[in-house]
């Protein structure tokens, strides 16, 4: 009984929902602030994303008349639960590497697809023309980035010949960070970084949500609490996916002594890199994005994978 209560509490509060949500919303603020400074503006105050969230929670929910009501309202929950579970498992592995089980990385990769799936389900349930355009683009983009992402994330696993996150972490604890240690992992990190940019749907890969041409894409019919949940899911992804990259390639998040500071710095570096790429690139068309992932990133990921197989 106590065991169950403890798991439930840790799922809802510390490494799970609340922690990820708060840090994710703060990371979203860092994104907006750095963007503003790059554009020579002042930028919003630190609580801006929290305020946005609470405001949306207090607004009315509008159900479009042509919508599939159940899937329209349930899909934000699917995305939120998926990303919460991703972050929860990831942090459990980081805090207690012993609890790692065989194939936990596969579970995380599967769960991290849920937010995109939720967008696809919700957008197609809303019955809007722009939403269906966004959904079709999101599906194509998913087909483009998922394969190189999976191959890239599996490269370190192949390099050390063990499929548990715990053993990747212990290996990095003994030998230093994966991407400085193995050339194959360095290549895989580059691939995974661009795939993460697409997973987060940030410029240059914000094709499904293009604000200026299809007005938010799948989100166009959402208002009030469901929209708040989608925004929260996005903020949580901004925290969970860089942590996934740090766990697999960059030594993991550790909290003993000076390592705690180092972990935060690693996260901030990846976050700032994402924001810089976001702010210095125009949006690609969907065919350009497909070409980028299938013809550039996929061969690169394969090269990294083969290098890991022969042990470079």
């Amino acid at each position: 009984m106590r065991e169950i209560l403890f798991v439930l509490l840790s799922f809802l509060i510390f490494p799970g929902f609340l922690f990820t949500a708060v840090v994710g919303l703060l990371a979203g603020w860092v994104d907006r602030k750095v963007t503003a400074r790059i554009q020579w503006r002042v930028g919003p105050p630190w609580y801006q994303n929290f305020v946005d969230f609470f405001k949306l929670m207090g607004k009315e929910t509008i159900l479009p008349s042509g919508a599939q009501k159940i899937s329209f309202l349930l899909s934000p929950l699917i995305g939120l639960i998926g990303i919460t579970l991703t972050s929860f498992i990831l942090w459990e592995m980081n805090l207690y590497p012993v609890r790692s089980f065989i194939g936990d990385l596969i579970v995380i990769l599967c769960l991290s697809i849920f937010p995109s799936l939720a967008l696809i389900i919700g957008g197609s349930a809303s019955g809007n023309l722009f939403a269906s355009l966004g959904v079709s683009r999101e599906t194509k983009l998913m087909l483009a980035y998922e394969l190189p992402f999976v191959i890239a994330v599996f490269t370190p696993i192949v390099a050390i010949r063990d499929i548990r996150i715990g053993s990747v972490l212990t290996y990095q604890m003994n030998n230093g960070m994966m991407f400085t240690h193995h050339l194959s992992s360095f290549i895989a990190l580059i691939v995974a970084f661009f795939c993460m940019q697409a997973k987060l749907a940030f410029v240059p890969f914000d094709i499904p949500e293009a604000e200026q041409e299809i007005m938010g894409g799948p989100l166009i019919e959402y208002s009030g609490p469901p929209l708040a949940m989608f925004k929260l899911t996005k903020a949580m992804m901004l925290f969970a996916l860089p942590v996934l990259l740090i766990t697999v390639f960059g030594g993991g998040m550790r909290f003993d002594g000076i390592q705690a500071l180092f972990s935060i710095v690693k996260y901030l570096i990846i976050l700032i890199l994402i924001i810089l790429v976001k702010n210095t690139n125009p949006r690609l068309r969907i065919d350009q994005a497909l070409r980028f992932f299938w013809l550039r990133m996929f061969p690169l990921a394969i090269v990294g994978f083969i290098m890991a197989l022969i042990g470079i």
Binding site: V51, K59, S223, L227
Partner: protein, 151 residues
Amino acid sequence: MSLTTFSLKKSIWVYHLSAGSCNNCDIEILDCLTPRFDLERFGICLVGSVHHADVILATGIVNRKCLPRVKRIYEQMPKPKLVVAVGTCACSGGIFARGYNMAGPFDKIIPVSAYIPGCPPKPEAIIDGVVKLIQSLNGKLTRNKTNERIR
């Protein structure tokens, strides 16, 4: 003041509704979001869909072609909702007040909370109007209070 009202005051998402304007007011609205004035520091940002918005920034006389669309867009907006009329045309009709095609001004069609006159109004005037609107929200606004006066 409840958390929702506080949040609403700190995070106003505006939807830009152009109902037959000459584009000058629209350009001035976009000016407010540029680095010189930077309305994002008050949490104000422009959204593409009226379902996400809290405030409609309405410009232009409402001509007969626009009339049903204006009503529909206002009805599609989630409560609590506010409308700001930007520019002389939107406030009173301006030089088009007696035009054959005039169905507005806006306050004849949908409830308007703030008027910003000027042809076009300066960005400072638009910011001033929005600030006054935010101040007038103080605790008065509840979910059901916005009146549904659509003619």
